[in-house]
Symmetry: C2
Subunit: 306 residues, 2 copies
Amino acid sequence: MSIDLLQSKIRKLKCPIMVGLDPTPELIPPELLAECREQLGDSPEALAESYARFCGGILDALRKIIPAVKVQAACFDALGWQGVKAMQEILAYAKKLGYYVLLETMRTDVGHIAAITAKSVFGGVKCGGERLFPYPCDGLVVNGYLGSDGIRPYLPYLKGEDPKNLFVVVKSSNKSSAEVQDLVSGGRVIHTAMADLTLRWSTDLFGKCGYGEVGAVVGLSSADAIQALRKRYDTLFFLVPGYGAQGGVAKHAAYAFDRLGHGAVVCASRSIIGAWRELAGTDYPEAAVAAVEKMKKQLEAYVTVL
Amino acid sequence: MSIDLLQSKIRKLKCPIMVGLDPTPELIPPELLAECREQLGDSPEALAESYARFCGGILDALRKIIPAVKVQAACFDALGWQGVKAMQEILAYAKKLGYYVLLETMRTDVGHIAAITAKSVFGGVKCGGERLFPYPCDGLVVNGYLGSDGIRPYLPYLKGEDPKNLFVVVKSSNKSSAEVQDLVSGGRVIHTAMADLTLRWSTDLFGKCGYGEVGAVVGLSSADAIQALRKRYDTLFFLVPGYGAQGGVAKHAAYAFDRLGHGAVVCASRSIIGAWRELAGTDYPEAAVAAVEKMKKQLEAYVTVL
């Protein structure tokens, strides 16, 4: 099971950290960008190439330290097809290096469109007698606002030979998440209604680690929400974004874990991949390693992964 | 204003129809697909080329009949970068032919990620001293589950020199939309909470037509919901998907319009672009024209655009 893959990689490295690959022009070291522009001109190709090299460098540097990476599709989509091509290379490279790879598209589609995405990302595209995987990954982050129709097409791929998993946005890490997600309905807030659905979608899809293949994104915006959700949903694996640049801290992130230090992974993006901007005299892979080591220590003060 | 552009194009053609370009391998006529494979092999390039030619043919055929098209990103994304490249070509071609062009990505992102998408799609990417627009369009369909943070980055682009607009998914067209969207909170259902937010995001952003630049996606799944929403939100422009293949009918779609036949556009995808499968002996552009004419007549029984 894919959730077991994630949990076992976390346990092996004793490191419940997922690094987000969300490149933007500002996060690319100027000399790297200049090098790409020298070769390819001031073009989308050059920017895309700089993203690919930059993320490749991060992946090389962290491969024995962190278990998982999350690739933010919006950052690559923004460059047009050249960016998407770079993203496909990065996904394949991350898989090759042995990471658990999560693709974040944050889409919400009706059933027949979700089926197209599920088939492409999880099932592959049949071409010339072979099956191509444009977006090699282990899991996908989706949005459940459209209900079961939009999630069900993914479920058949969560079991079988090469199982995948899903994370559904339950409670996001941004401040305005409360506007819809915290509205109260029939004694529960909307984000627990979403968590209830997430749990339902996991029926019969539990890993050996005890957690469901359909996990929940639970942001670090509110410590209370994390505590309440962990108490209520002891079989939902939590993906916890919002650490570092978005202001989340280790003490609050710790609420997401069970007493064995399992069932959650904390995600940081800019604070890791952009750490070179704060650490003068280091190159960006070194700075990312230092930032991960620091974050790991911060988490270890509150969470021990057994 | 972009919403005025849409409304004026609808009024000019007396046709409140938006055709969805949601290509899938099954919707491409076999001879067209075979032609592309002959030239490019059984490859993602061939499939992408068949999508581009197919959508190009539809755009040519309908350009004097319908005012607007909607391009479903998921269908093109599914092929990898080759599909995205074809989508970029189709968006540019639709703009060139004079359509109001809506891009449907259905993403929900936190603020700093939404800012990246807004900048790319609406603001353009600076390269080599010029501004490139990877995804030429007039508007974008987004999801508001993350609240204002994820929408605000788009708002500056809704006014100024080349204004754009947004459609927020309020009530989707699929059956399970009720699971989250119809939950009751404080005397209102969640989808009206979303509509209230949508209205708030439109503050100061009203077109001459009287409708806001941030419109609402209101699917044809429930006639009651459309009626109630139109009664309550008389300044929200409604994008009404779910016609035809998804089961929606003209009588219900009519509830979305005001008494002048303004304020709404009805969207059909597969029933138009896939009409060739039902009409033996016609080529696919002819069949699409016939299907649009039929849908137009159905709507005219209930709606007159003044």
